[in-house]
């Protein structure tokens, strides 16, 4: 299946809109009017429909099959959420309309905040970050602001376990911190003693993911939090894995100071081929005064939107008020599940991961077998030793069986890591089929049928792509071939 580029179908004459031509005898452009040509191809509506329908069919998606993707929580996206987000009362309101005309929007944001605060048992929430990494940035900014306010600007070190997501060190570095890695124990969890050893008066914070990226709940998390606080530092928790514990464990009870929540992972706002996300950050009482603008304040029978505070240390991290479209979806999702449903979803997510681990552990290698896993099952590739099949090959062979590959080579602390996160959305039938396929593939790899793997995928819209070539000689946009005329003339 091959679909030409839109520039190969359309031209500058064709258009899929009917707009009147207006007379602009006297413009008000002050001589800044366009002289250069756009050379922008257009499609009529029937052509556009086919182009995008056909292109879409080259994608894997949740609606067509499972994504056993560790660390990414690809769950069912209810269409009710999409419908609600499109109510004109939410989609057709402007961020700078008079506040008196958007009271329902502010009430919604307040309600979403209440859910997030209650589920996490924290003191404040900043809704505005545009994605998880943006939330991380904001959370670490709040920590920095708090320490500067205390006159502790000398705290320039951030502790990050080796198993952390790449965004953690990137965020810390972005804010000028020096990153000090914290090693993990052999069982895959962080040792409170190692943390204590790394703590010093120069440490600003620890950034810890819990459940961690190996799929394990940090059993010493409360002790770690205490040690960090005792050292005058803050505990930033990466909330990427909140799906394992929502409604079951409140991060505030563990001693966290800041945690971002990926609405697009945990609360099912759609992934959309890579965004938009939304990354609200909950904050402890110690950090609450350092939250950015804007935020909502209930005043008697109405809501106010606080957009400026003269003395605010942090300011704002985005124009306007954040990802309203995602707030609507997330709240709709929460109300549908209720507190009982969210807890059940977390438990089902954990149940599914353990089920997969149990069904596969005899054939796949489990690097950290000491604890039950949370919502992700971690394997490593030692079962592929001497098979001539790499982890990547194995993953690509999964494509031919109708599955998206699992997460590979992450966390970095495990050699040839294979991280599987089924989420709560998958039925037992699907899990069983997934396990059957994985076992069959593992057997085939061990049996020496490496060609099936090294040539995979063969049933996808494309064979393996040459990524090296793409990076060495980047072609980042379409250029008109010399022999292709500009318009159909």
């Amino acid at each position: 299946p091959d679909e030409p580029l839109l520039f190969e179908i359309g031209d500058t004459e064709h258009s899929g809109v009917d707009l009147p031509e207006v007379d602009l005898a006297t413009d008000r452009l002050g001589g800044f009017g366009r002289k250069s040509k756009l050379d922008l191809a257009g499609l009529t509506e029937p052509e556009a429909m086919r182009h995008y329908v056909r292109l879409s069919r080259l994608n894997h998606s949740i609606d067509s099959g499972m994504y056993p993707l560790g660390s990414c929580t690809m769950k069912h996206n209810p269409r009710l959420n999409e419908k609600m987000a499109r109510l004109p009362g939410f989609s057709d309101i402007h961020p700078l309309q008079p506040v008196s005309t958007v009271q329902g929007a502010l009430e919604l944001m307040n309600e979403l905040s209440h859910w997030l605060l209650t589920l996490t048992n924290t003191a404040a929430v900043a809704l505005s970050p545009k994605a998880g990494a943006h939330g991380e940035l904001l959370g670490m900014m709040a920590i920095k602001a708090a320490q500067e306010a205390k006159g502790e600007a000398h705290r320039t070190i951030v502790l990050v376990p080796e198993s952390a997501h790449g965004t953690n060190p990137a965020t810390a570095a972005f804010l000028g911190y020096t990153v000090t890695p914290v090693p993990a124990r052999a069982d895959g969890t962080v040792d409170v003693e190692a943390v204590k050893a790394a703590l010093s008066p120069d440490v600003a914070a620890i950034m810890l993911t819990n459940p961690n990226t190996c799929g394990l709940f940090e059993p010493q998390v409360i002790e770690i939090a205490k040690a960090v606080h005792d050292a005058g530092a803050f505990f930033y928790c990466d909330g990427a894995n909140f799906n394992a514990i929502m409604g079951v464990v409140r991060p505030g009870d563990l001693g966290i100071d800041a945690m971002h929540i990926n609405l697009h992972k945990t609360f099912s706002t759609p992934h959309g081929g890579g965004g938009p996300g939304a990354g609200p950050v909950v904050l402890s009482a110690a950090l609450a005064p350092f939250a950015p603008v804007p935020f909502i304040k209930g005043v008697q029978d109405r809501f106010e939107l606080i957009e400026h505070i003269e003395a605010n240390a942090l300011g704002r991290v985005t124009a306007f008020h954040g990802q309203m479209g995602m707030y609507v979806r997330a709240l709709t999702y929460m109300l549908s599940h209720g507190a009982d449903g969210l807890a059940q979803a977390a438990q089902d997510a954990v149940l599914n991961a353990n089920y997969i681990k149990s069904r596969l552990e005899h054939a796949f290698s489990v690097p950290f077998p000491d604890y039950p896993t949370m919502h992700e099952a971690l394997f490593d590739d030692s079962f592929l030793k001497d098979s001539g099949v790499s982890t990547l090959d194995f993953a690509k062979a999964m494509i031919d069986e109708g599955f998206h590959p699992m997460t590979m080579y992450f966390p970095l602390v495990v050699h040839g890591a294979m991280l599987v996160e089924p989420t709560e959305s998958e039925s037992k039938q699907t899990l069983d089929r997934f396990c059957d396929v994985m076992l069959e593939l593992a057997k085939d790899a061990r049996d020496g049928n490496s060609a099936r793997f090294t040539s995979a995928p063969t049933k996808a819209p494309r064979r393996r792509l040459d990524e090296t070539r793409a990076a060495r000689q980047p072609i980042l946009k379409w250029e008109r071939p010399v022999d292709l005329p500009k318009a159909a003339e």
Partner: protein, 447 residues
């Protein structure tokens, strides 16, 4: 529950396979004190029709832009989005696909991003564009950081005409940086930005049309910046203006960032929006965000992949160009589809319609006693000075069902110079009746 596929019997069977007595056995690593020892003060699960009733009640408490005359802009604009766009982006394979890290089963998203990058490069007149950032404001902050990396210099000068929220975001990203110079916002000009450029300057940041709607001279700015080895960053909050205004790339811009919401995306109370970023070819490796590139597959067929990811955090960790690990994929798709439907012919006509509407609006406002139009130039937005503070006036007009625009004081509180300023936008959706309703009401309120 409707989203959870397991029956109680299936859960029990699976626990049996695992060898766990109950679900709590799987949470054994959680300290006892933290495991469900609480009562959540939150409602229980609810049928779809009750959830819908609740959400509709909230939505009904808002005045939708379509409910009456509407002139609110200042960085977000109400345009018509073709039904085809919203239909297509809801298609399962677009809506529920993951980031295209596995290119063999993500060619739909990848080819779309390649087309998107091409469209953005074409309208800005730049060599390359990325696969989108969060929004215009954060894209501006990223552009400033990028310019510092490229020039290895630190001073950055922000025009006084830059959207105040954008300025605030840059300030937050560059916290307490003495090398950040924010020129004072004035309704008449952008401040004397060119005289600020010296040989320590990494970049100057100019918005056009600026916050007040004035069009700005990019060519002169580019020459002044380049003469000192500084870059020109151009910020655009109304991307449709590019249908009628000269491309920044043709005028010497080094980095162009824009808010792409106007094409394909609804107002959404401020988000999700779409950050556009385009630059010169030589700066690619300092550009943040995802990039999609063309390549071939094992059979030699054309295909697309995410590329140059050695800039990114999941590879480079603390040495990454940015901590960004998301783009605004679905908004980029909406933008790309809408732009494909427009094509050159439609994009230019749409821009002309917007400009024509703003001219009508300006002329009608000029005729109202107590109103002074400040702009000599504008695209689809302009600023007026009224004879009293604008904020309460806007409030009174809202009670009459007219959303009249943004009082400058909302974004620049405490600045007495802007207290009487009101910023109004017209788009292709603005009707003559809307303008008449506005001017009539304004005349009455100001009388």
């Amino acid at each position: 529950m409707r989203y959870l596929p397991h029956s109680a019997a299936e859960r029990a069977e699976m626990l049996g396979v695992i060898g766990a007595t109950d679900i709590d056995a799987l949470f054994s690593a959680v300290p006892k004190s933290a495991l469900r020892g609480f009562d959540l003060d939150l409602p229980a699960h609810s049928p779809e029709f009750l959830v819908e009733r609740h959400m509709r009640a909230l939505a009904a408490k808002n005045h939708a832009a379509g409910d009456g005359p509407f002139f609110v802009g200042a960085g977000a604009y109400r345009h018509h989005v073709p039904a085809t766009v919203d239909h297509l982006i809801q298609r399962s394979e677009w809506l529920t696909a993951y980031t295209p890290y596995q290119p063999e089963i993500s060619q739909g998203t990848l080819q779309m991003l390649f087309e998107f990058q091409t469209q953005v490069a074409k309208i800005t007149g730049m060599d390359v564009a990325n696969a989108s950032l969060y929004d215009g404001s954060t894209a501006t902050a990223e552009a400033v950081l990028m310019a510092r990396r490229i020039t290895k210099k630190n001073k950055v000068v922000l025009s006084g005409g830059l959207h105040p929220h954008y300025r605030d975001v840059v300030k937050a990203y560059l916290k307490d940086d003495p090398d950040l110079v924010c020129l004072s916002p004035s309704p008449e000009g952008q401040g004397d930005i060119l005289s600020q450029v010296d040989n320590k300057t990494a970049a100057i940041v100019i918005q056009t049309p600026d916050f007040y709607g004035h069009l700005r001279d990019l060519k002169g700015a580019a020459e002044a910046a380049h003469a000192q080895g500084a870059l020109l960053i151009v910020v655009i909050t109304e991307v449709i203006s590019l249908g009628l205004l000269e491309a920044p790339g043709a005028l010497g811009a080094d980095i162009v960032v824009a808010e792409g919401q106007s094409i394909g995306n609804a107002l959404n109370f401020g988000g999700p929006y779409l950050g556009l970023m385009a630059t010169r070819k030589e700066f690619i490796r300092q550009m943040p965000g995802r990039l999609c590139g063309e390549t071939v597959d094992a059979e030699g067929n054309r295909g697309f992949v995410l590329t140059l990811s050695t800039r990114e955090q999941h590879i480079r960790r603390e040495k990454a160009t940015s901590n960004i690990c998301t783009n605004s994929g679905l908004c980029a798709l909406a933008f790309s589809i809408h732009m494909a439907l427009l094509g050159e012919a439609g994009f230019v006509r749409l821009a002309r319609l917007n400009h024509a509407g703003a001219i009508k609006l300006a002329d009608a406002l000029t005729a109202v006693a107590g109103v002074e139009v400040l702009n000599d130039t504008f695209f689809n937005e302009l600023t007026i000075r009224v004879s009293e503070p604008a904020a309460p006036l806007v409030e009174r007009l809202a009670r009459r069902g007219i959303l009249a625009g943004v009082p400058a004081s909302r974004l620049l509180p405490g600045d007495p110079g802007v207290e009487n300023l009101l910023i109004l936008a017209a788009t292709e959706l603005t009707t003559d009746l809307d303008i008449e309703a506005l001017t009539t009401a304004l005349a009455e309120e100001l009388a």
